[in-house]
């Protein structure tokens, strides 16, 4: 499943880049994510996905696969495994930043998701809606909290 999202933040590209490549600063904005430890380039924590009564907890890790500052392109790979149960989530997230004005940056995020386990067998497709909503929350948080606090 591929999810595409584009948003703008009120900050110049260089500043946006610095924030978006800093896991410790963006972690609080990832809905349900609790950063627990950092080892080298790997960030580990718990990702709790809540869709009404359905709650999935994943032991998760996040690494940067690519950080190309000249192209303002960053690729992250995340993976998680259900803490109870056998399901997994793997995500490759490609973000490309582009100046949209003096103090404005357009961020294009493409996430490729690979979900297994019982949640993946949910016949009615709500994962798209859920993911879109999670990304909305993430962006909103990013805009209000991080960018506001850093400018």
């Amino acid at each position: 499943m591929e999810i595409n999202n584009e948003f703008t933040v009120q900050a110049p590209v260089s500043q946006a880049w610095a924030i978006l490549t800093d896991v410790e600063r963006i972690a609080p904005c990832i809905p349900g994510f609790q950063l627990e430890e950092i080892e080298g380039d790997e960030y580990r924590g718990t990702m709790k996905l809540k869709i009404g009564a359905v709650v999935m907890s994943y032991a998760s890790r996040l690494t940067f696969v690519e950080k190309d500052e000249s192209e303002h392109r960053v690729v992250m790979r995340g993976g998680g495994r259900e803490q109870r149960g056998q399901g997994t989530v793997d995500a490759t997230i490609v973000s490309v930043l582009e100046a949209a004005g003096d103090n404005e940056t357009r961020v294009n995020v493409t996430a490729t998701l690979d979900v297994t386990g019982r949640i993946a067998g949910f016949g009615r497709s709500i994962m798209g809606d859920v993911s879109a909503r999670l990304i909305d929350q993430f962006v909103q948080c990013l805009e209000t909290r991080v960018m506001a606090g850093s400018s």
Binding site: R84, G85, Q86, G87, T88, D114, V115, T116, G117, R118, A120, G121, F122, G123
Partner: protein
Amino acid sequence: MTTSLPIDHELHPAGAQYVGAKINRVEDPRFLRGEGRFVDDMSLPGMLHAAFLRSPVAHANITSIDTSRAAALPGVTAVFTGQDLEAEGIQPIVSRAFLPGMGDNLREPLPTKKVRYVGEAVAVVVADSRYIAEDACELIDVEYERLPAVIDPEGALDPGAALLHEDLPANLIGRKSESHGDPERVFAEADHVFSHRFVHGRVAGVPIECRGVIAEYDRGREGFLIYSSTQIPHLTRSVAAECFGLAESDLQVIAPDVGGGFGIKAHPYIEEVVIPFAARRIGRPVKWIEDRYEHLSSAVHAKELVMDLELAVAADGTFLGMRGRYNANAGAYGCFPQTGMVDAMCAATLLPSLYKVDHVSYEILAVYTNKCMTGTYRGVGWGAGHTAREVLIDDAARALGRDPLELRLQNCIPSEPYRSVVGMNYDGGSYQESMEQARDALDYDALRERQAKLREEGRYIGVGFSPFVEPAGFGSKAAAAVGQKHQVTYDWGSVTLEGDGTVTVRMGFHSHGQGHETTFAQVAADQLGVRMEDVRIKYGDTEGVPYSTGTFASRSGVIGSGLIMRAGGDVRDKLLRLAAHLMEVSPADIELSGGKAFVRGAPDTARTIKEVAQYAYFGPGSRQLEGDMALTSTRSYDPPESYSNGTIAVVVEVDPETGKVTIERTVAIEDCGVMLNPTIVEGQVAGAVAQGIGGALYEEFVYDDDGNFLSGTLLDYLLASSMEVGPIEVHHIETPSPVTDGGIKGMGEAGTLAAPAAVLNAVADALSPFGVTFTSTPITASLIRDAVAAKREGEQ
């Protein structure tokens, strides 16, 4: 209807009163009181409960399994993986190759190296309760190394496709081509050639009782007692014995009351090996009851076929030739004993059906993919192939401006026995008459008038016909006729007159809804002149009944009745001699009826059969009779090919804007030769039709491109309810088979085989103003509406 047949005994001996009558079922009261005994109703002393951990991924190497956290959970007795079974030398289940170039398929009871579909069992937990066993499954840590999933059957043979079985050169299960007549020529010369690619959806029988196994190990005798919800207790015993390296009689397999089968329970399964293994290791009985997710994801699926069909037609509508290519998406393993070839072979060999075509060719192949293995489901590949063919014929009729029923009648074979070009020996039937009877039952002309009138009001009704022949009474010859020569069947049964005058029939044919306790009692009672209530039909326990390949493929009625007629006839002869001896007359003068033996024409001479039996068992005088006087006989029967036939017609109304289909009427004409009990025939037809309607409109197992299984609940895999199915009218024609014992033909699958084509044709007929045709099943509301919309847009 009486018949004169080349058999050793009559179905209706003098005095017979039961066969052919509508008789209420004798097995019903226990089910109606909730006193049936299904596997999950059993409890053995000290019994533990098992749950399986199943693969969440479609294709992966197992790099490690850590069961320590699970084993440490309070209430857990043991956790076993494939390594544990391998260490004790438990052998894989083998489905054997039977074509050149085909390889055996070996399935480890629990995989040691790889998982090949979502839902495949990886480990088993045994605990004090199922609840705890499921808790523990969540604590097993399995590391998987993901491999690409092979989902599309057409891509499965690409050189770059991931290989499912490393011991095989490719994902090919088997391939076979046949050509009869000169199809190349007739296709080149034909005035019209119609063709389509038809994709039949993946479906299954989905009985309301899931599977289940209880196993107990007898350490002293080194043998197993296994309860299983199966249609085939003897084959299950054979396979389990082989896996354990034990003699057949070291295992006792009991199939108690079984809550529906439909072919799904006609295969041995890995749980029938793993649960006994666990019971042996632990030394206590272990129960596993398949839950609905396990059933939907891991009990055999069926009928997923990609079919390319061509029909060559002359200018006057005569069918000249048919060609087909059948590619079965057979899933990850080969089912025992048919292998994944079963659906494609069945579909292909029935290609000409009841049409006079002299030029037919087909290619059959089946491929391994990362889905649940396929096996048998009522109507098997016959149904899928039938749907593809009958839909193409309707498309052809529309294109030619011909009435679909007239076009079929024009090309239909005669009623007499007929050898089809591919070599099937139809034993005669009512091929044309059944179509005519369906037409009359519907009042066809009036229906067409109503259709035209309603269309003016913007309402769309349609009618679809689906005439069929159904291979039935499946013995070795029928198996060979559908390309399954390797599937030798073997069935025997015994009839015994007990010392109290009651009759015991012992057979391996399990009954899980078919009503054997009634129909076979009818046959046996008529053979021995006893009252039905004095007959007991025993089945299901490998210790108690003779060997049988089991109940599937509409075989029990023909073979079971034949066995009873043969063995019962033997006992009858002895009974007549005994009665004659007792009554001091000639055996030729004795008539048996209503539980009495009497001199023909002199009912007041009657002695009860109980008296005669007691005379045999306990009366010293009977010892004066010479020869073997055991009042029991065991006989086998492997019948010739026989074929039921009939026509199903469906009337629907379709809402083109929402795609909603309402089934207004279903008419089923059934000719299964001599009927044992019309009530049961009607029940079988109606039930099969309902499953056919389900397959046409609602049912499908869906996998996404990664091999995730999307149909794990009955909200996803939708079964038709009383609101969707609607009333089903059954009409009978009775054309006795000239080749089987008693003229009986097997029945029970035709509705599932033939109803989907009737539904698809009816919907397409309703929507003919839009020019909609269908090339897949199921035709969901979404598919129907979207097809109409595509046609409307195309016009704009």
